[in-house]
């Protein structure tokens, strides 16, 4: 049993160490601050700023949309229709959505985009990632809101608050730690996901200036740099992988800190 613990934790350590050791030598300031130039994938100068900024745009947009949909959904599921058939249907379908492979989001998003005539762009990537983040966020929020003590809600109603007021002021505030954790979990997943943006967001050397421009993303940057036959570019792929890993790990740490901060508003 201890052996299995060692194997599992050992593989985590191994992943971190290998990426760090192979990626660090190729890391440089120019990688972080410059966009790709024309010859970048053939060994030319430049960096992956386009991918870093592109990923940031994608994830911000996707998280915004997903939040706008998921928070009302979670509130509705918990407050207004907890036992109804719609609620159980919604929960089931969201559970299924949670397990859907991300490439299917890419395929689906791509088909919808073709139908509407949108090209591979920031918009397409945002939609695909929003669909990816949605079930993660809703599930996390749902779990946390379920644990809000009934007495808290009853006290709020007893003071004359409407359902909406209770939902917004009491439940969300109490559930804020879990909501924050859910959101950051989803963000971490979305930043690292390549399969869903492969078809929908395209790839480019520049930073997009409108919603309809193609956008580079970090996972794809790693993937494409790895696919070149030039060792220097492959080295840069390792460094990009390290950057991605660092971003995801810091998100993880940040989510723990923010969750603890948000718990200041919750009543134990």
């Amino acid at each position: 049993m201890i052996l299995s613990v060692i194997v599992v934790l050992g593989s985590l350590v191994s992943v971190l160490v290998v990426i760090l050791v192979r990626g660090a030598p190729a890391l440089s300031v120019s990688m972080l601050t410059q966009s790709s130039t024309g010859g970048y994938y053939l060994g030319g100068a430049g960096g992956i700023l386009n991918a870093i900024v592109g990923s940031a745009y994608l994830v911000c947009g996707a998280t915004g949309i997903a939040l706008v949909i998921s928070l009302p959904t979670a509130l509705y599921l918990n407050e207004y229709a907890s036992r109804s058939r719609l609620a159980s249907f919604a929960r089931q379908s969201l559970d299924v959505l949670w397990s859907v492979p991300s490439i299917i989001y890419g395929v689906f998003g791509f088909t919808i985009m073709v139908y509407f005539g949108i090209r591979a762009s920031l918009l397409g990537g945002i939609l695909a990632l929003a669909m990816l983040e949605l079930p993660i966020m809703i599930r996390a929020m749902d779990e946390v809101m379920r644990m809000v003590p009934l007495k808290l809600k009853e006290s709020s109603y007893a003071l004359g608050a409407t359902k909406l007021e209770t939902a917004l002021n009491v439940i969300v505030r109490q559930a804020l730690p879990g909501v924050t954790m859910g959101v950051l979990l989803a963000v971490g997943r979305a930043i690292g996901d390549a399969a869903s943006v492969l078809f929908t967001a395209g790839y480019t050397d520049s930073i997009p200036r409108s919603l309809f421009d193609p956008v580079a993303s970090l996972p794809l940057a790693v993937f494409f740099q790895l696919a070149t036959p030039f060792p220097e570019v492959q080295q840069r792929a390792y460094a990009s992988g390290l950057i991605l890993l660092v971003i995801v790990l810091s998100l993880s740490v940040a989510s723990r800190i923010l969750t603890r901060r948000a718990a200041a508003y919750a009543i134990k």
């Binding site: 207004y80 991300s102 299917i104 979990l185």
Partner: protein, 284 residues
């Protein structure tokens, strides 16, 4: 709020519907048995035999589950039953960290460590020559990716077994391990199966990490040291070409639909098992 809920619950149905609709083209021109059992994949001649891809997917996923199930189970038992609170509070975040690492990074790690390991150490040990881009590499990386999910779900399920069951078993004179094996695990069994099934579903659909190390050769693999071509990798590698030829595109939509249906089936079975467990131990 209502509209948001309806919207989110309809997404899965929309996906299934769109994929089904786009697959009808290929389903009407080819019989199901030809699609699933034929090995000839020549899109230009309108032949779409998915058999090597299906078998490749099953090989890689099966191997991943074979590797990851026992360690995950043992680790979740350890975390739920044996670990002290402090140890648990260190290990659990590490497992969550493992769950959060992006799949490209896993693929990179496997490319840098596992593939050379297989090529230079493992295969010569068994007298086999290989490039290292094998079913084994894909299976190992998938196993590492699936383990955190399986661990976290089974750990929750094991912890949810009510304390009186353990106490009753110990009162009858059972040792710690006997209690765990006969009382706790038996009670948590449906949940553990659900965790494994959910992990299986995840392994099935994982694209990027596997694509980077599994070789992408469309032949039925003869051993774990052969390359394979799982269905998600097939879709990801060929998306550019699929747009131009309707039958090609329809074939890929069918492949995606297959994936979706299998994952759906797993997800429903796992959900049923987990609901059964919750109902058994419901605390109102």
């Amino acid at each position: 709020m209502l509209s948001a809920t309806i919207l989110s619950s309809l997404i899965v149905i929309a996906i299934a519907f769109v994929l089904l609709e786009k697959s009808t083209l290929i389903l009407t021109t080819h019989s199901l048995s030809e699609l699933l059992l034929s090995s000839s994949w020549h899109p230009a001649q309108n032949e779409f035999g998915f058999y090597p891809y299906i078998v490749g997917t099953l090989w890689v996923t099966g191997l991943a589950m074979a590797i990851s199930t026992v360690p995950s189970l043992l680790m979740s038992i350890y975390l739920a039953e044996y670990a002290q609170a402090r140890v648990r509070s260190i290990i659990k975040p590490m497992v969550d960290l493992l769950a959060g690492i992006p799949s490209v990074v896993y693929g990179l790690w496997a490319l840098l460590l596992i593939v050379p390991l297989i090529r230079n150490q493992v295969a010569p040990l068994l007298g086999v020559t290989t490039t290292g881009y094998t079913v084994l590499a894909g299976g190992i990386v998938l196993a590492v990716m699936v383990t955190p999910i399986t661990i976290s779900i089974s750990e929750e399920v094991i912890r949810a077994v009510p304390q009186p069951i353990r106490e009753a078993s110990m009162a009858l004179g059972a040792t710690r391990w006997q209690t765990v094996k006969h009382a706790v695990i038996r009670s948590a069994f449906p949940g553990i199966i659900a965790a494994i099934i959910l992990g299986f579903g995840r392994a099935f659909g994982e694209t990027i990490a596997v694509l980077m190390v599994v070789g992408n050769v469309a032949k039925v693999p003869a051993s774990v040291f052969d390359p394979a071509y799982p269905i998600p990798a097939l879709i990801a590698n060929n998306y550019g070409e699929m747009m131009s030829i309707p039958s090609y595109e329809s074939a890929f939509m069918f492949a995606a639909l297959l994936l979706l249906l299998i994952v759906l089936a797993f997800s429903i079975v796992a959900a049923v098992l987990l609901v059964g467990i919750k109902r058994r131990y419901a605390v109102g």
